[in-house]
């Protein structure tokens, strides 16, 4: 399943790259992009475990930049 989320206060381009990398390493995620320019996260992941995966996504992003919020 592919879904898109808006991100708030994504302030640094390097952080976006780090988040993208971290999200891709989560199990069940087939593809992910964090676009600094559009402030959006596009994620493709297992449909059954999607909510679970999203929780993990939020926590890895918080580790990279705690100020940035994923709007769901």
């Amino acid at each position: 399943m592919k879904k898109k989320f808006k991100m708030q206060d994504l302030d640094c381009a390097n952080c976006a790259a780090k988040m993208e990398d971290a999200i891709r390493h989560i199990e069940g995620v087939t593809d992910a992009t964090v676009s600094f320019m559009t402030q959006k996260l596009t994620i493709e992941a297992d449909e059954e475990r999607f909510d679970e995966i999203m929780k993990e996504v939020v926590s890895v992003c918080a580790k990279v930049e705690p100020d940035c919020k994923i709007l769901m």
Partner: protein, 622 residues
């Protein structure tokens, strides 16, 4: 400015005033009055905390989260180091300068993001639906297929549909870059995202919002920045190594020279701090995607949708362009191109042919009637019979008329003169005597010749045309347009293998593009390095299969895209060279104690800001 940015601005002002007071005080004699160093330390700590408390807070939090090499941490260590060697004013100034740079950077990025999204401002906010005689504004998402919506003058058409009532001029500029408005009246299809001109229209919707043209385009443009160019990936990978390497360099510089070569601790720690300030890769990481974003934005303003930075990068290296003929270089409409009478006048021959073809619904008959311009008087036509694969036998004004190909002439033993023109030839005979011939051919698109010349000018080396059409017709078009290579009489499958052969002949980084109308050539579009498709105002198949979509089917735009791509690539490369160059230069200079932390801050945020400003030029390419 956002709230967050404003708050930062106030903090900067406050810290700056405090800093100035202290700095002035220190240099205007207070230094003698307060001799105890610790007092100065605490005094300078005030503006330092005002300006930098969030940096320290974030750094601490990120260390807890295992993010060691982030810029907050690096800035904190660098300024702490400066405090440690009793360079109080420098520590505060560096932090202040850094925050000013960050603020400006966030402002500039916000602005550029805004200017690009303004340009893509084609999203309709509401749709008008008539309920109980009154107009109600609803979310376009909630409108079902087949509902009738009302589009008032000046409003954006929210959904694709067919006009059921009214007439108006429609401005398609946001989608196609075409400034001449289109006329739409009852029965015409209109697409979402266009602006309605003068009249009120009632439109029966044919698609849901998610499937409508405007939603598709917006999705495309948003996803474009997800497909990354090679340089972009290179920089991201580079950044991953850059920061640790420079940081390790800083540690070595802080320890090794004083410990083993008798250098002054104070001096070398300051150098190490400068290294830390420079080690943030943000200038690079930010300016590359921003440049591409601008380039894609500039292209979409022309009505060309580029689906990813990687395609823009490929276009810059394009050397061969392969065209499909029909629908791409030619209009795909058959027209009478030559009238060659034997005895009578041209008008008489055309009149005869138009009447002879009066009852036929063959496309050729339609183009002859169209050339005749008047409606044929069908009462003059009798006994029409069609001979399959040959033509028509008919009576016009009681006289036997034959219209058809060579086979018909031979079968009826007419002494005809073979015609060598490119196109389909219709021979006409009256009462057993050859009357002349009419040539029907596809016509070349307006501007196609110009487009090919422009492509050559921007550096495309080879142009190739592929077609299923007869060789004579293909050669004729190729000669008219100045195309280098022609492959005619191809079956759809042959096109793929032809493109593969051409791809094999490419050298090094050279890229091959295929331009097609996207209807039958999806496999070729995918196979080529870059697939250009004619958008044909909302043909889904084309938008789906291609990498770059020409919204108004104008091949002239290809040369413009090449120009935009080249310029974007040039800007991106300038940024990389400039940012890396300055960083390396300052690293070297600071190793020799020629520049201090000030230089380091410039190499970090100053360079980032300059690179961002440079990136914005990509958006302005015409």
């Amino acid at each position: 400015m956002t709230k967050k940015q404003k708050k930062m601005l106030y903090r900067i002002c406050a810290a700056f005033v405090l800093f100035l007071l202290l700095f002035a005080g220190e240099h205007l004699g207070l230094a003698e009055a307060i001799t105890h160093g610790a007092v100065w330390f605490f005094l300078y700590l005030i503006p330092y905390l005002v300006i930098g408390y969030d940096i320290i807070f974030k750094a601490a939090r990120n260390i807890r989260n295992g993010q060691v090499f982030d810029e907050n941490f690096l800035m904190m260590v660098a300024t702490f180091g400066a405090f440690g060697v009793q360079e109080y004013s420098e520590a505060v100034a560096v932090m202040l300068f850094y925050q000013v740079g960050e603020l400006f950077q966030s402002y500039a990025v916000g602005r550029s993001r805004q200017s690009i999204s303004d340009m893509m401002d084609i999203c309709p906010e509401y749709a008008n639906i008539e309920q109980d005689g009154a107009l109600v504004q609803v979310d376009p998402d909630d409108v079902e297929v087949g509902s009738v919506i009302v589009v008032k003058p000046g409003e954006r058409i929210p959904l694709d549909g067919v006009v059921t009532e009214g007439e108006s001029l429609i401005d398609t500029a946001a989608l196609t870059g075409e400034s001449v408005p289109r006329r739409a009246s009852v029965g015409d299809a209109v697409i979402s995202g266009c602006v309605n001109g003068s009249g009120t229209l009632r439109v029966r919707t044919t698609k849901e919002f998610d499937d409508s043209t405007v939603a598709k385009i917006l999705e495309l443009v948003e996803n474009a920045s997800n497909k990354k160019a090679k340089v972009e990936n290179f920089i991201t990978r580079f950044a991953r190594y850059y920061t640790p390497v420079v940081t390790i360099g800083a540690v070595i510089l802080a320890i090794v020279p004083p410990l083993f070569f008798g250098g002054a601790w104070r001096e070398w720690i300051e150098t190490a701090c400068t290294f830390l300030v420079i080690s943030c890769p943000c200038a690079l990481v930010i300016s590359v995607p921003l440049g591409f974003f601008g380039g894609i934005g500039a292209a979409s303003r022309l009505g060309v949708l580029v689906k990813g930075s990687n395609y823009l990068e490929a276009v810059a290296e394009m050397t061969t362009i392969v065209f499909d003929k029909t629908g791409t270089l030619t209009k795909g409409e058959f027209k009478v191109t030559e009238i060659l009478p034997k005895q009578c006048s041209r008008e008489e021959l055309l009149e005869l042919a138009a009447h002879g073809e009066g009852y036929s619904n063959h496309p050729i008959a339609a183009s002859i009637r169209e050339a005749y311009k008047k409606a044929p008087d069908l009462s003059r036509v009798t006994d029409a019979a069609e001979k399959a694969g040959h033509g028509i036998l008919v009576k016009v004004d009681g006289k036997d008329v034959l219209l058809g190909n060579e086979k018909l002439m031979q079968a009826e033993q007419i002494a005809y003169e073979p015609c060598e023109s490119a196109g389909t030839v219709v021979y006409v005979a009256q009462d057993g005597v050859f009357a002349g011939s009419i040539v029907i051919a596809d016509t070349v698109k307006d501007g196609a010749k110009e487009a090919l010349a422009a492509m050559k000018r921007v550096g495309v080396k080879k142009t190739v045309m592929l077609t299923g059409d007869r060789l004579a017709a293909a050669d004729h078009v190729a000669a008219e347009l100045g195309i280098d290579e022609v492959h005619a009489e191809l079956l759809p499958g042959d096109k793929v293998s032809r493109v593969e052969t051409l791809l094999g002949a490419q050298q090094g980084k050279e890229k091959l593009a295929f331009v097609g109308d996207g209807i039958n050539d999806a496999p070729v579009l995918t196979r080529a390095d870059i697939g250009f498709a004619m958008g044909s105002m909302g043909s889904d198949a084309a938008i789906e299969a291609a990498d770059i979509v020409l919204m108004d089917d104008d091949v002239r735009k290809i040369a413009a895209v090449v120009r935009i791509a080249r310029r974007t690539l040039a800007i991106v490369k300038q940024n990389i060279v400039f940012a890396l160059g300055v960083k390396i230069l300052i690293l070297i200079l600071s190793t020799f104690h020629i520049v201090g932390m000030w230089g380091g801050v410039f190499a970090d945020v100053g360079v980032a800001v300059l690179a961002i400003l440079n990136s914005m030029r990509a958006l302005k390419t015409k």
